[in-house]
Each structure stands twice: as structure tokens, then as C-alpha cells.
Amino acid sequence: MSEPIILFDKVNKWYGNNFHVLRDIDLSVAKGERIVICGPSGSGKSTLIRCINRLEEHQQGHLVVDGTELSDDVKAIEKVRKEVGMVFQQFNLFPHLTVLENLTLAPMWVGKLPKKEAEERAMQQLKRVQISEQAGKYPLQLSGGQQQRVAIARALCLTPKIMLFDEPTSALDPEMINEVLDVMIELAGQGITMLCVTHEMGFARSVADRVIFMDQGQIVEQNTPEQFFANPQNERTRDFLSKIIAH
């Protein structure tokens, strides 16, 4: 097996002095692998993926992303963030900029692309998420599903090797969930490494290579989707699955 693109080695993190949010996390992600992370609220799944681009810092253990070990070193953080795109639950688009400006901001200022080139690249990505006709609008003039697709396009504009999704459909109206999932499924077919925190089990079944279940800061169980859903090993996993699939 080739070198993992993300490697967690006994990673621990605390919020304050007492809240041990990540406990002895060991996780190795292969290049191109698509992983879905699920678990109850407060289990540390968001924190886990936010450590990968250093939105959160871990206090113990080692975390290596694409050959760079994450530490307080600003250069290392910059390097990792160039390779990692992220999509948030609340979209976090920049409301004072148009859709197109949201997409060209980083390529122009971080990637130092000329404006014209950045706009071309942005339009390509907007076409990909099927929203190019909204390029001149402001984010708040779009529906939630459209905003989230813009957010995905914005992350893709930096051509990342790894994409992190932090509950990308949890803030959406039910009617809009599928338009976002469709974009993510299309993306999953392109060989990009994906880590996705979600409770969309249909998505997990159809695209994930591996499903990880977390509880109380630990990785409780991980398996292929077939095995994970058909034959959960841990009692805690069974309990969780029965709750989210029952109704």
C-alpha cells in the first residue's frame, strides 16, 4: 500500500482542561479514499476533520498531511491548507462579495493568478456545480442548496488534493439536500480524497470506501459500508444505527 495522505498517530486534544475531545486517534487515509464519519453529537467528529487543516490544534500525538507534519510552524500550516479544501455546515460564504468574487478571492490573493484566469477557473467550477448563471449574485440571494454548491466550488478553485466536508447538508431544507449530494457524488468519482462528516447514510452506502463511527472522542468502529451497515460489530454502533435509521 502506498504512503497514506493523512496519518493520525495517537492524536489527543482537549478543550480547556477537562474536556478530552479526541482520545488516542489512530487513523490512516489512503490517497483517493472516500471516508464518511458519523457519530452522535459531541463525539468529536467535526473536531477530528478540523484538525486536518489546523482549524483546531491537537495537543498530543502526530498528524501528518500529505507529507507535512502539522505543528505551530506557520509555513507547514500554509502548505497543508493549500492542499486541503473545506466545506462547512453553515456555508461560510462571504456575504459582501458576489458568487464569482467568492470564488476568485483565494486564487487571486493566495494563488497569485491574474484576474482573468481566476475568473475562468471559477466559471468552470460553477458550471461543474451547475450554478454558473448565478455568478453575479450575492450569496444571500441564493437558496441554501445553491449556497452550499457555491461553497464547494469555492473550495475546488484551489484544486485541493483533499476535501473535508463538515455536515454539508445539515443546515439545508430537505428538498435541497439531494442537489448538494449529487455534486459530492460527482466529486467522489474524480479520485479526490474525501472526508465527510454526515448522517446521510444513503450517501455513505453509495460512495464511501470506509465508514467510521465515533463516540466520546474515540473511533469506535470502522469498516466498509456493506459490513458497517449489515453487520455492525460494536454495541454502541448498533444502538446509534438503530436510532438514525429506525424512522
Binding site: 487543516n53 482549524l55 461560510n92 456575504p95 462579495l97 478571492l105 450569496p139 473550495a155
Partner: protein
């Protein structure tokens, strides 16, 4: 059973309210008893008071600079003659009489460039050059001492040029200072944070008058003998530091209102700290605090009148100077006050309208 087909209803424009004057009056002024009573009282007051005001201010007023006519009209009509008589002294203070064309041109240039800076289409790099040229012209004309222009030291400067220049420069310097201090107070570096907190708390703890006193009288005591910094410069620094501290807190309020996700999104995209502040955080934070910032700008404009206490005779001071020294005209100070009040109002009202325009422009991204 076949499902019923969805029949969309075509959108129609909202109804327009069409009514005559009488229904409008009834709805807005006489809709119920308290509203009717209030309308009658206010109209009654206006009918009783307005004719007197018009009579005093316009009909029976004296417009010629004649002291005897003004004396005769005292209590009956306004004496606008005092302004005809004293306007040069009020507008330009103790600036040498023969040279007053210089502050006139200087102030005109400054106001013109200020107005040009308000126009969106002029926000181009050359505007900075225009400002530099205007400031050079302003101080060149005011100081003189070259090309046959008589040298005029700063303690002879006064009136409107002083007011406009002090307000413009202290606003122009205090605003960037405020942004930096506001960012500093949220910095992760303890030393920077502490310095910013101490600065804001120290300045907020004292009145502007005492800052001006310190700048004017105490500061020279700490300087090595023989060195002197112009009092105008010291006062300018004083006002700037003072208003910068207040504005920093307004800006900090705006910064705190920006959701954490905005910074995180900027971080994720790889923007550096300053790129994120400049492109993402500050545009939103400042847009949110436009009313508060403009409040402060207006306050600075009017607070410049306090520099009179350190013997710089700006508009208010020059007015006092013009009338206090002349026992004949001193009784007509109220009319002179009306005159400078009108000038202050013209400036402050323009600033207020401009801020409304900015707010409207900035809200474009929030409209559906």
C-alpha cells in the same frame, strides 16, 4: 386516482393605495382622540410661533452693518448686520486681513477634494496624489513665506480653515488608527493586546479638554529646552489620539459581530491574517458600524471648537474673538451664533446624508 395538476397563479403587482387628501389627513393626523389633540396643539403652536419667528428673522431684521439701526431694532428684529460687519473676522480669525484670500482658496481646495473623495467613481489611485497636492497647497498658502507670500505663523490661523483642517486631518488619521487598535485588541499576541487596551482605557478615562491642555501646556515641559513642536501639531495629535480610542471601540464592536465561520473560511482558503482582515473581515465589520463611525466623525468636527481653550481660534473661537472685543456689537452675539450654527449644520448634515448613502450602497448584498 389521477393526481390533480398543479395550477400556478400568475404573480400580480401589489395594490397601490389611492386616496385623496381628506382620507390621508384622517388616517395620519386625526385617527383617534390623542392623535387629534396632538395635531391641534402642534398646529396651534406653529401658528402662534412661526409668524413671530419670521417677523424677527426676516421682516423686521436689519441687514445693513449699521450699529444704530441694529440698536433700534433690538428685541424686535434680528441684526444680520453684525455678520455683514464681522464675517471676515468670524470666518478667518486673526489671519492678516489683506492675506485672507489665502485661507479662502486653501479651504475651498480642501472642501472640494473632500467632496470629490465622496464620489465612488473617483476612488482611484490618483485620488491619493490629489490629496497630497491639496495638502501641499493648503499648508503652502496658509504658512506662506515663499514667492513673496508673507509668512503667517500658526497662532494667527483661525476660523473656518482651522476647523475644517483640524477635523479633516484628525478624522483621516484617527480612523486608520482606530482600525489598527481594534484589531490589536483582538490579537493573539499579549503584548500588542495589552498596549491597545491601555491606550484605549487611558484616553477614554479623561475628557478631551484635559488631553488638549496636556498637549498644549504640559507636553512642552517634558521636552528638552530649545526644542518646540508647533501647538497646532500637538493639538492635532491630541484630537487624533482621543477620537481614535473611541472609534477603536466602535470598530471592535463590528469585528465581534462577524461570525467565527468567516475567519475560518478565510483560513481554510489559505488567506494570510492581513489578507483575511482586509478582504473578508473588515469590509463586513466596518459596513456594520457606519452609523457609529459617522457619529464619531460628526462629533470630531464639532469638538474642534474646544481648541479655543488653548488659544487656537477656530470658527467658534473666532466668533467670540470678533464680538467680545467690540462692545458696540457684543449684544448681537446671538445672530452671530446663528450664523456659525448654520455653517456647522451644513457640514454635519452633509456628513450625515453621506453616511446614509453609504449604508444604502453597502446593503446591496443583503437585498433580494
Amino acid at each position: 386516482m389521477a393526481a390533480a395538476a398543479f395550477q400556478p397563479i400568475a404573480p400580480r403587482p401589489a395594490p397601490v393605495r389611492t386616496e385623496g387628501a381628506l382620507p390621508w389627513l384622517k388616517r395620519n393626523l386625526f385617527s383617534n382622540l390623542p392623535s387629534t389633540v396632538a395635531t391641534i396643539i402642534l398646529v396651534g403652536l406653529a401658528l402662534w410661533w412661526l409668524p413671530q419667528l419670521i417677523s424677527w428673522a426676516l421682516v423686521k431684521a436689519v441687514y445693513v452693518p449699521s450699529f444704530t439701526e441694529c440698536q433700534a431694532a433690538r428685541g424686535i428684529g434680528a441684526c444680520w448686520g453684525v455678520i455683514t460687519e464681522k464675517y471676515r473676522l468670524i470666518l478667518f480669525g486673526r489671519y492678516p486681513f489683506e492675506e485672507q484670500w489665502r485661507p479662502l482658496i486653501a479651504t475651498g481646495a480642501m472642501v472640494a477634494v473632500l467632496m470629490a473623495s465622496c464620489v465612488r467613481a473617483f476612488w482611484r489611485p490618483w485620488l491619493v496624489l490629489l490629496w497630497a497636492a491639496m495638502l501641499a497647497l493648503f499648508f503652502g498658502l496658509m504658512f506662506g513665506g515663499f514667492a513673496g507670500l508673507q509668512h503667517v505663523p500658526t497662532d494667527r490661523w483661525g476660523g473656518l480653515p482651522l476647523t475644517v483642517m483640524l477635523a479633516t486631518l484628525s478624522i483621516g488619521l484617527a480612523f486608520p488608527l482606530a482600525v489598527v487598535v481594534a484589531l490589536g485588541r483582538r490579537s493573539k499576541m499579549p503584548a500588542i493586546r495589552t498596549i491597545c487596551v491601555i491606550y484605549v482605557e487611558l484616553i477614554r478615562g479623561v475628557p478631551l479638554i484635559s488631553v488638549l491642555f496636556m498637549a498644549s501646556f504640559m507636553f512642552p515641559l517634558f521636552m528638552p529646552p530649545g526644542t518646540s513642536i508647533d501647538v497646532l501639531l500637538r493639538v492635532l495629535v491630541g484630537i487624533t489620539l482621543f477620537s481614535g480610542a473611541y472609534m477603536a471601540e466602535i470598530v471592535r464592536g463590528g469585528l465581534q459581530a462577524i461570525p467565527k465561520g468567516q475567519q475560518e473560511a478565510a483560513d481554510t482558503l489559505g488567506l494570510s491574517y492581513w489578507q483575511a482582515q482586509r478582504k473578508v473581515i473588515l469590509p463586513q465589520a466596518l459596513a456594520m458600524v457606519v452609523p457609529g463611525i459617522m457619529n464619531n466623525f460628526i462629533a470630531i468636527f464639532k469638538d474642534t471648537s474646544l481648541v479655543t481653550i488653548v488659544s487656537l481660534y477656530e470658527l467658534t473661537g473666532a466668533m467670540g474673538l470678533a464680538l467680545n472685543s467690540d462692545s458696540d456689537w457684543r449684544p448681537f452675539k446671538i445672530e452671530a451664533y446663528f450664523f456659525i450654527a448654520a455653517i456647522y449644520f451644513a457640514f454635519c448634515f452633509s456628513m450625515s446624508r453621506y453616511s446614509l448613502w453609504i449604508e444604502k450602497r453597502l446593503s446591496a448584498s443583503k437585498n433580494r
